[in-house]
Amino acid sequence: MSETRKITVTVNGTRYEETVPVRVTLADFIRHQLGLTGTHLGCEHGVCGACTILLDGHSARSCLMLAVQADGHEILTVEGIAPNADTLHPLQEAFRDNHGLQCGFCTPGILTTLIELLRDNPDPTEQEVRIGISGNLCRCTGYQNIVIAALDAAKRLQKSPVPAPRGSAERIPA
């Protein structure tokens, strides 16, 4: 049996106290132990960006962290973006309306990446969006609608701002 540790993490505003094997990645912990399977695993070595989450408000690849390293930290996954079960976040609405999902596999990583990007830069240029999502691979190869959706989301958010998702603010852990 491999070595384990007890950790406390806050994911999408919910506090979890869990025991984890020390070698388990944060991505597997989120999916298998917390059951939050919205975070997708594509390459599992830091290239595809599908597993992007926000850690204390900063985007990070959850396959490149150990779950033990998240002890005491706050995480936002794709499940935490919508304000409630019946309402989509404007970013998600923009993706639906502009057909920015396509097959949907890369979407969770792109949405979390864009939550950070639009927080820091509410009115990005197309070039800034393209650079911002350059670490997210879409194998449908149709970045066009993703970029359109991101720019549309920026407009929607400027017109009618919504509260930031829980766990998306920049935070210095205690």
Binding site: E3, T25, E44
Partner: protein, 290 residues
């Protein structure tokens, strides 16, 4: 793909980390994890112990004195958004934005990049360009290593198995100097096939008085183009003369890999420094006009 089994240690002080490093067999230091974690996931490395530096106090800082002193665990994001770096070391500011992606800069660290010593890494090229000094801590205290003697072989830094890097010092160039960091890669955020870092100073008549020209991605370690640096002294930077001077860089040894043959890298070695020199010169002129 999952990391192999290991024991996990998360020391809080440099002294504890050094002592663990000295006492544990087959231990690996974990910094930002942007290189070690993929290697663990793919089981290219099989350590018995992981010593996580993320909770060690006092390794994350950017201090601007005569030079920029940067802690080993300073995230690349912090370098990117540091006012001190932008003002005192615009070359570093320009280069850091070309390191990977936002998601990797949020985790990746200065020390991790220097120790991993990827030949194409921007921070490694910068350390050569600035003649940085790397500070390492070991059992018998700390010592400083000139970056010129830091790489000893492909991805192998000159640090002992029981030492760890605690930071690096990057000398600052005087206000009004010229700079440019230009790299060629197939897509934004990819490793550079070749990169060029240029720093210059000019006198009032526009003649170069001091130059640093560095090529990354050519071989196992960044190459300082000393001959070109010498040839630039007293020259006024303009296209034709730079083309002549930089042509000599075609003779640089270059690696050949899946991304490009050696001859392609050698071609880039003549082109990128020239473009960087012209841009650096233009920036000095812009600064004078402002």
């Amino acid at each position: 793909m999952k990391p192999p089994p290991f024991s996990y240690h998360d020391p809080r002080t440099v002294a504890d980390a050094v002592s663990l490093l000295g006492s544990l067999e087959n231990a690996k230091l974990l910094a930002g994890g942007q290189s070690l974690m993929p290697m663990l996931n793919m089981r290219f490395v099989l350590p018995d112990h992981i010593i996580d530096l993320n909770r060690v106090e006092g390794l994350s800082y950017i201090r601007a004195n005569g030079a920029l002193e940067i802690g080993a665990m300073t995230r690349q994001r912090e370098i990117e958004f540091s006012d001190a770096v932008r003002e005192r070391s615009p070359l570093m500011h320009e280069a850091i934005r070309q390191v990977g992606h936002r998601q990797t800069r949020n985790r990746g660290t200065l020390g991790g990049s220097l120790c991993h010593l990827d030949p194409a890494a921007e921070l490694v090229t910068l350390a050569a360009a600035f003649d940085a000094k790397v500070t390492v801590a070991g059992k018998s205290g700390t010592r400083s290593i000139d970056f010129a003697s830091f790489p000893v072989a492909y991805m192998t830094p000159a640090i002992e198995p029981d030492e760890l890097v605690t930071g690096a010092t990057f000398p600052c160039w005087p206000k009004g100097h010229g700079y440019a960091f230009i790299e060629f890669s197939r897509r934004h955020g990819d490793f550079a096939i070749v990169s060029a870092a240029v720093l210059i100073e000019e006198d009032s008549s526009g003649k170069v008085t001091r130059a640093s020209v560095t090529l990354g991605g050519m071989g196992p370690a960044p190459v300082r183009a000393r001959e070109v640096e010498k040839a630039l002294i007293g020259e006024v930077i303009e296209e034709k003369r730079m083309r002549e001077i930089c042509e000599s860089l075609r003779k640089c040894e270059a690696i050949e890999d899946i991304h490009a043959p050696a001859s392609y890298r050698q071609q880039l070695a003549t082109v990128l420094p020239r473009r960087a020199l012209l841009k650096a010169h233009e920036r000095i002129a812009e600064g004078k006009r402002a």
